[in-house]
Amino acid sequence: METLPMKRPEPLALSALLSLALLFAGPALADPAADARSAMQGTIDEVLKVLRGPGSDEQQRAQIETLAKQRFDFTTMSKLVLKRDWKRFSAPEQTEFVTQFTEYLSASYGTRISRYKNEQVATLGARNEGNGDVTVQTAIKGGQFDGATVDYRMRLLSGKWQVIDVVIEGISLVSNFRQQFADVIAKGGPKELLRRIKEKNEAGIVDAPPTSQPAAAQGTR
């Protein structure tokens, strides 16, 4: 029975199969970690360029805030931070929350980052998370905070890698704010939380001169 009529075509079939597999696997083989990393790297490079470029502190901070708004998905962050409490917010309250929280976070990020004028940021790597997210790991080089780690948790949202959490020295913004907010909501409801965030935004998280921060477009007294 050693005629083996079947054996001949095998290599051919195999290679056909292989190329077919490759064809379909092509997109899937793209490495999400690498994609997310290069996306984040792009934003970091732009931020550093702003910091080293011309312009007053105020102007730079505004530019950085704009960059942050492009790379961070503040809506998702808002939902994650509020988690179950999100339901307790009415639709307009939700909208208001996202607006205020975006303002609040980007101002705070802008101030923090702008202090790292003379430091470098090293991208250390990127890690695939169980749920398809990617964590991009970076560290500050030089200065007082040499070696401090800043991890960006990223998610592919409508085709774009977006930051959904920042973990500074192991402390997750989402987790930290969730704890802070849960308490306020438990005691005073959504209104109280909104009031407090607005208060922060109006006072200016940053020590900005009074003229700056046109972002809070409300009628400031």
């Binding site: 939902k79 208001e96 202090r115 987790s175 109280e192 208060e199 109006e202 409300q218």
Partner: protein
């Protein structure tokens, strides 16, 4: 930096308090079962810091060049190397222990009796271990969160381990109150901006500080590795409920309620203004 703000006598008192409390409570209700008491002490500490320590540190910062501040910081840091050495041994890290010996020797001999960190210049890594971390590594949990007068955030495990930290610090055996004051003020001066920023950044500074402390202690036990974050944190709750449109691109649409006056408090239930 955890224990830097704590004068020795107070540590003992704090510890006693911790031990008493430990006997009285279980840890069922999350990391902070003693919150009401903790919050009172927290407010006391904030008051102390804002009215005395911070202004003094600011004044000090104004006259003391940061170059000297760093040197003083290095000196006191070197005093903790024996503690780190013992704990490296207890954690089975002979290599790290050898580094500690090398670090202290180099810094004392070549670094002006410990004021200059020559060891780091020549690439000897800086380790940081204490007895709380060692017991933590052995599997002892942190126990309840604890705010100690003048000292700030602690947990019961670390508070109980603190006497051993003190016993392995050479400065304990010298009666030098002046030096202790310098150490406290010098340390505080190095965190002026950070703490101010954190106060401004947080909606609830108490909660912020608690989370930051507990997480960073966990991280120290893991020698700087970020503790694993549960994927649950990043799971959206019940997709259908999110009927929110993307609002980022249209900042013009403010709900009418947001407009009239910035203070418009919710129906009378918002008495506590953050100072």
């Amino acid at each position: 930096m955890r224990s830097l703000l704590l004068p020795q006598g107070l540590r003992a008192a704090a510890l006693l308090g911790a031990a008493l409390l430990l006997g009285a409570c279980s840890t069922e209700q999350g990391p902070d079962p003693w919150r009401p008491t903790n919050e009172k002490i927290f407010r006391f500490n904030e008051g102390f810091d804002k009215s005395l320590l911070e202004p003094v540190a600011k004044g000090y910062d104004g006259i003391m060049p940061s170059f000297f501040q760093a040197m003083i910081g290095t000196f006191f840091e070197n005093l903790t190397v024996p503690r780190t050495f013992v704990n490296d041994l207890l954690q089975g890290k002979p290599l790290a222990a050898a580094q500690d010996v090398g670090r202290l020797t180099v810094n004392v001999l070549a670094g002006l009796v410990g004021f200059v960190d020559v060891a780091s210049e020549i690439g000897i890594p800086k380790n940081d271990e204490d007895f709380g971390q060692t017991v933590g590594r052995w599997g002892v949990g942190p126990g309840p969160y604890l705010v100690v007068p003048f000292a700030g955030p602690y947990n019961v495990r670390d508070a109980l381990a603190t006497p051993l930290d003190i016993a392995t610090n050479p400065s304990t055996f010298v009666n030098a109150t002046g030096a202790t004051v310098v150490r406290i003020v010098n340390t505080r001066a190095q965190y002026l901006e950070e703490i101010e920023q954190a106060r401004k950044d947080s909606i609830d500074f108490y909660v912020f500080q608690r989370d930051a402390f507990l997480t960073s202690r966990e991280r120290e036990i893991l020698d700087g590795k970020t503790p694993e974050i549960d994927d649950d944190l990043y799971e959206l709750d019940d997709e259908d409920l999110y009927d929110l449109e993307e609002v980022e691109e249209s900042p013009t649409q403010q709900p009418a309620e947001a407009q009239p006056s910035e203070e418009a408090p919710a129906d009378g239930d918002s008495p506590d203004e953050t100072p």
